[in-house]
Amino acid sequence: MSVITPEKIAASTYAVSAGGHFEHENGGVPLLQVHKLAHHYALPRTQLWEPRPQVTALQDVNLTLRAGQSLGIVGASGSGKSTLARLVMALDVPSSGRVLWAGQDPQQMGAGELRRARRHIQMVFQDPFGALDPRQRIARTVAEPLAAQGDTTRTEQRRRAAEVLEQVGLRAEALDQYPHEFSGGQRQRIAIARALITRPRAIVADEPVSALDVSVQAQVLNLMQQLARDFGVTYLLISHDLAVVNHLCDEVAVLHQGRIVEQGPPAQLFQSPTHPYTRALVAAMPIAPSGVQKPSLPPSENAP
């Protein structure tokens, strides 16, 4: 077998120094590689003796996620973004091509090995209402990825759950509450806490803020950014919102009809998009005037 195990990555990825600068020590192996990935879905039969027609969700996708360099995937619905997330998380078997976690193919791993490897790559879903089991207390939901690793005691799991909840800005009392007692933004924090509990190197986030209100979005984005800074989490962020990707990512890939049509640093990509589709995306963003003049008012009689 390969020399590099997921456990080794955890030990040697990179440390976060006090100044918030990342030191890359990963033996040159990226956290995640996607190599010539393609995926087809079979449609229902139209003719009894004909083969089932297929729809191509992804074709010839190549991506590299390096430690400390968050990658954003943008594209319209139906462009294959969520299929990509499922394949990257090894929740689905690709039709062709490979996904490599730190050089290892999760499809080649045995069940136990895969479960242990999942410690290093976790996922946050779009809908914070659907992602949490309404009948489980937060402690159990949050500790579940850790419990699945099978190497911790109940007490240890609970301690770690309290710790991550604190890291995402919730109090330890939350442990014994149920999801319905929290607002949308708090639930998304809980979902992030659950992803964080195994201290992953990478988090795949599929539209993590699009179900949230504007002011709550900002809080969750700040939290994600802070986790990247403090714990060196690297994101594979999937979103249709260019501004969100622009804020949180160091590189962006534009997915259009299952293919990556353009890739680059967000500043450059959104400033001078070369592909017509990227141009259309940038042009479609509604933009509020970002600079607001301070009101120049005479002191009113209502002033205290």
């Binding site: 918030g20 990342f22 400390g68 360099q69 968050s70 319209a76 619905s77 139906g78 607002s183 949308g184 933004g185 209100d213 504007v214 002011s215 709550v216 979005q217 900002a218 809080q219 984005l221 700040n222 950014q225 990247a228 800074r229 249709h240 919102d241 260019l242 501004a243 969100v244 622009n246 804020h247 949180l248 990512c249 160091d250 500043a267 959104f270 400033q271 259309a280 995306l281 940038v282 042009a283 479609a284 963003m285 509604p286 933009i287 509020a288 005037p289 970002s290 600079g291 607001v292 003049q293 301070k294 009101p295 120049s296 008012l297 005479p298 002191p299 009113s300 209502n302 002033a303 205290p304």
Partner: protein, 389 residues
Amino acid sequence: MQLPLLEVTDLRIALATPYGTVDAVRGIDFSLPAGGTLGLIGESGCGKSLTALALMGLLPESASVRGSIRLAGQELVGLDEAALCALRGNRIAMVFQEPMAALNPLHRVGDQVAEPLRIHRGWSRRRARDEARALLERVGIADAARRMDGYPHEFSGGQRQRICIAMALACGPDLLMADEPTTALDTEVQAQILSLLGELVAERGMALLLISHDLAVVAQHTTNMLVMYGGTVVEAGPTQEVFTRMAHPYTRGLLAARPVLGVCRTWSVESENQPQRGQFLPDLQPHSPAMGQKDGEKWTAAADLQPTISKSDRLLGSNAGTRAALRPPLPTIAGNVPPLHALPPGCPFAGRCAFTLDACHATRPPAVDLGHGHRVRCIRPEAMAGNTP
């Protein structure tokens, strides 16, 4: 002096909840002239959707409505169901957030578009069907003659929303309400749907009430706007005025909280192609001091961008070279929206606002007129002009 098409005076909505009766909408006033566009901004629970439902007479039975809603002089509050049915879909039409939920999955879309014509105008099946096809063509459904016999599940999200718009347009309403019409859609489709709405409003002389949580959408598509918070209108006025001089800390907070991408395109409806640089002095500092956020020194790089605002500068912001994880965080509004049954007695924003004084907690602030029809419910709008609370 022309009578406004829609005049809402001191509208109050109370809901029966497990916590007792709560005032969800606490006295809002606005008016909308025929053919005008009005944006209604706010977050979940601020009462914006309830306001729209009250206009349609669709509130749940447990809700009680007080105040007055006049449509071209006719009082809608307290109207009986039969009279409301004659209005809905006829003179007032609505486009909802979730097009799949708004369409009946068991009926052909052509029949659904034709339904208001059959009901309100008593048209024959054939005549209504011809008109439905014309409407579907107008909203951009390709090959409408064939596709009008399809069912909603055969259409994409954007197409479904177009069908909903065709339904709303069928009887040529005076007032079209769109409650978050594009929230469920992609950015690209959102732009298409919004420009379609804009075209139709201009073409048919309808008034549009556009409800959204996105300031940018309202900035681009309406001439007047209201910002709601905690069941009250905290800021109102012509969109251009409000964006030029945001006077309420909540409005400023909402704008600042959005991550920014891109050039400052001019947003005024009249002059789409002329960026008015002198008018909007860019404040590129990511932490608006007005929000009471502390400025980490190393992030402040706005000064050198002030004199010339090239497209790229605006696009990249001041932090383009910094790794994403190390860029300054977004300014946020502290705390959460208080639940309706626990709104503070004074200004609903008191406590979350960096400018809160004791006086803010005492009484609900009156609306202060800032000129040009720009009103704000804040006892110290001039504080936003200063630097420190």
